[in-house]
């Protein structure tokens, strides 16, 4: 039987990327900035978002999409701090959110009345790094209870991110975490990274994060990609 070669040269995940582009268009039409928060499980994504909603929900309309393998616990926690619908995506064991899930979640969100979209990805530093959700930027949360070598162990997460938020700084006196080493490791992977130093529990450094979001929402800050 004749054999033939079909030239394809198509990127795997191109379908996801096309949906991500349509999300970017949807968000662009309403000038809604979107950030995709990724981290290891337990790095403090939900607490950071709780404090963010508490602090800013009188100044801006914030929509949140959360992703978890199971339960909508995070969405329930966040819903206590906002009058807006918090969209919970349960991945049923899936290790990351993909663009089609965000596209569907946005159908329930009135983007005309949304100043900012925050996506809390599934706790995992591997898979979420590779999936474009149509966000402006990926933000990695890096808690001081983790090893300083996280950027070296999970380079794709730090390479594909624009910002790193160090979390749980209130625990710094109690753990052997070398901040300079962590910063050097992160910069070794991605020299463009910008950093926040926070404790959502004590409030340390949170003002810088809020100020950043305010500037971005008000159009005073160009999105980093």
């Amino acid at each position: 039987m004749p054999i033939s070669i079909i030239d394809v040269r198509e990127r795997v995940m191109s379908k996801n990327d096309k949906i991500a582009d349509t999300i970017r268009l949807r968000l662009g039409r309403t000038k809604t900035p979107a950030f995709n928060l990724i981290s290891s499980p337990g790095a403090g994504k939900t607490l950071l978002l709780e404090r963010t909603l508490e602090a800013l929900n009188t100044e801006m309309e914030i929509a949140v999409v959360t992703g978890d393998c199971q339960t909508q616990n995070d969405a329930d926690r966040l819903a206590r701090h906002t009058g807006r619908l918090v969209q919970a995506v349960i991945t049923n064991g899936g290790c990351h959110l993909d663009a089609s899930q965000i596209d569907k979640a946005l159908d329930a969100i009135d983007l005309e009345y949304t100043d900012l979209l925050l996506i809390e990805n599934v706790g995992n530093l591997v898979c979420p790094a590779g999936w474009d959700l149509g966000e402006d930027s990926k933000i990695v949360l890096f808690s001081v209870t983790e090893g300083e070598d996280k950027p070296l162990k999970y380079p794709n997460a730090f390479r594909n991110a624009s910002y790193v938020i160090f979390t749980k700084l209130d625990l710094l006196p109690h753990v052997d975490f070398d901040m300079n080493l962590a910063l050097n490791n992160a910069r070794a992977v991605n020299r463009q990274l910008r950093f926040f130093f926070t404790s959502a529990k004590s409030g340390q450094g949170m003002r810088d994060w809020f100020e950043f979001l305010n500037l971005r929402v008000n159009g005073a800050l160009v999105p980093a990609t």
């Binding site: 039987m1 054999i3 079909i6 795997v12 995940m13 191109s14 990351h96 898979c127 794709n156």
Partner: protein, 83 residues
């Protein structure tokens, strides 16, 4: 799980590439995969082998070509045209 999602995407790309040539037998699906693509090649190959057993692929063999960088794409497919 991650590799299975990607393998499913490869199946979709392959199906689209076959298009109206069907019925034809896919012999090989050749992929370029970078060291920084965020994919475990062994796991990926395992998932692909399992998925490519089913119609319309007819037990096609995945061929992974390793590269530097973050490339992850279906390069070409080899098909046996049915008379």
């Amino acid at each position: 799980m991650h590799e299975m999602s990607l393998a499913l995407d490869v199946c979709g790309i392959t199906e689209r590439a076959i298009g109206t040539r069907s019925p034809s037998l896919v012999r090989e699906v050749v992929l370029d995969i970078g060291d920084n693509a965020g994919v475990d090649p062994d796991n990926f190959e395992f998932c692909l082998t399992a998925l490519l057993q089913s119609p319309p692929f007819g037990a096609a063999k995945p061929v992974l070509r390793r590269h530097a960088g973050s490339v992850l794409r279906v390069a070409h497919i080899e098909v046996e045209e049915c008379p």
